[in-house]
């Protein structure tokens, strides 16, 4: 079993809910990530994220990214996992739910985020380690 904690990124990028979608896109681009946690003024029952997908959908439908706020385009159906999950469990959650990102939460808050890309990277590394041991 490959622990999810070995693959997730612990540095979480965040963006304010009042930021324009353009600013949100710039934050994603600057940090080279596909998703950011959205800071809300009042604490919500659970954290929300905005991803490349929301940016794409807005632009694709002709929305002006300067006039739309990040808070209006939050990602739907976010999935959470605990850091005790395996990489395969995260991959299953992504596949079943159609998510590119899974937030990893602990009782005291967000521990990290794992993307499909992180799954690929860690899985490839693991497979290569395995084939080296066999040789």
């Amino acid at each position: 079993m490959i622990p999810i904690a070995d693959a997730m990124s612990r540095d979480i990028v965040s963006v304010g809910q009042d930021a324009s979608l353009r600013d949100g896109a710039e934050v994603l681009n600057e940090h080279e990530v596909g998703a950011a946690v959205v800071d809300t003024e009042r604490p919500r029952p659970y954290p929300r994220i905005v991803t490349e997908r929301e940016v794409l959908a807005a632009v694709g439908r002709g929305a002006d990214p300067d006039r739309v706020q990040v808070g209006e385009r939050l990602a739907k159906g976010i999935t959470f996992s605990a850091s005790g999950w395996s990489l395969q469990q995260a991959a299953e959650a992504m596949t079943k739910g159609g998510f590119q990102h899974v937030l990893v939460v602990e009782p005291d808050g967000i521990a990290g985020m794992i993307s499909m890309r992180d799954v690929l990277r860690r899985w490839s590394e693991h497979e290569r380690e395995g084939s080296e041991q066999e040789e």
Binding site: L21, R22, A25, E26, L28, N29, G34, T51, E52, R53, V55, L56, A57, V59, G60, R61, G62, P65, L87, Q88, A91, E92, M94, T95, K96, G98, Q100, M116, R117, V119, L120, R121, W123, S124, E125, E127, R128, S131
Partner: protein
């Protein structure tokens, strides 16, 4: 990162096809982010201005392990897959396909790319409007669109000749 790794194709692509075919390996979102970051409207831009060059190309008979390692090494989220037959559009293998593969716990050393990729990708032309490409991607939940140039300069006019060789089927016209 050093020099880009060679394309993982089971045979070299014909030069014309290799030159004409581009993809958006970092995905639509990144493309749009980049353009939005430049403070220009996607309506004024063409796909050519947003696409990434030098796509990774893999053979259908490569193993999933080989293809995944190549994607990780090149730091891309999709690879073009050689067409099954001359005249067909290329296939595409994306990060989503590999994640599904991981979820199913399959054997990367045995399973072949051709059994886990999209066999015929929807493609766009480099001159298409970027916002329309983004809309197409959003409607169909595609994150990667191969860009295939089917028009070839012929004398002084641009004629819609299918590009030769590998991807000669070109896009489905809408």
């Amino acid at each position: 990162m050093g020099a880009p790794a060679p394309a993982l194709a089971s045979r070299p692509l014909p030069p014309a096809a290799a030159r004409m075919s581009r993809s958006l390996p970092r995905g639509a979102g990144r493309m749009v982010d980049r353009l939005i970051g430049r403070r220009r409207s996607a309506r004024d831009l063409t796909v050519r201005e947003g696409m990434s060059g030098h796509p990774l190309v893999v053979g259908r008979d490569r193993t999933m392990g080989e293809a995944t390692h190549a994607m990780v090494d090149r730091d891309v989220r999709s690879a073009l897959v050689e067409p099954a037959a001359a005249g067909s559009p290329p296939g595409i293998l994306t990060v989503r396909d590999v994640v599904r593969f991981v979820a199913e716990g399959r054997d990367p050393a045995r399973e072949r790319v051709g059994d886990h990729c999209t066999r015929e990708a929807t493609v766009v032309e480099p001159g298409s409007r970027l916002d329309q490409a983004a809309g197409l991607m959003s409607d169909h939940a595609f994150r990667h669109l191969p860009v295939v140039d089917t028009a070839r300069r012929s004398g002084s006019s641009r004629s819609a000749t299918w590009s030769g060789a590998c991807w000669s089927g070109g896009p489905r016209r809408r």
